[in-house]
Symmetry: C2
Subunit: 74 residues, 2 copies
C-alpha cells in the first residue's frame, strides 16, 4: 500500500470564496501582512498502487472544470 496526498485548489482566475472570506476576516482579528489566501481541499488515502489515482481525481475528488489537483506519493 502507498500513502497518497491529493491537493485540490481552485484554478487561477476562479473565484475562491473561502479564501476571500479568510482575507476579509484578517484585519478584524488583528492579523496583518497576510495575503493571497487560497483555500482548497486535501485528501489523504492509502492505495494499492498509483494506477488509478489520476482517474480518481478526475471522476470523484476534484471538479476539473474549476479545480486543479496535485498528487503526492508520501
Amino acid at each position: 500500500m502507498i500513502s497518497v496526498r491529493v491537493l485540490i485548489r481552485p484554478k487561477e482566475g476562479i473565484l475562491d470564496a473561502q479564501g476571500k472570506a479568510v482575507e476579509s476576516a484578517l484585519p478584524a482579528l488583528g492579523f496583518d501582512g497576510i495575503e493571497h489566501v487560497r483555500v482548497g481541499r486535501v485528501v489523504e488515502l492509502r492505495a494499492e498502487d498509483d494506477r488509478s489515482l489520476e482517474e480518481l481525481c478526475e471522476k470523484l475528488l476534484a471538479n476539473p472544470l474549476i479545480e486543479d489537483y496535485e498528487i503526492e506519493i508520501l
Copy 2:
C-alpha cells in the same frame, strides 16, 4: 514574504463525513484497493513572516477542538 501551506485535517477519532462519503462512492465507480480516505482543507497564503501563523490557525483557519493543523513553509 514567505509562502505557507497549512494542512487541516479532522482529528483521529472524529467522524470524517467527507472521507466516508468518498469511501462509499469508490466501489460504484469501479475503484478498488483504496482505503483510509480522510478529507481536510489546505490553505495557502503569503505572509510577511511566520510569527503569527500558529495563532492564525488556532483562531481562524482551523477548529482546534476537532481539527489538527500542520504548517509548512514552502
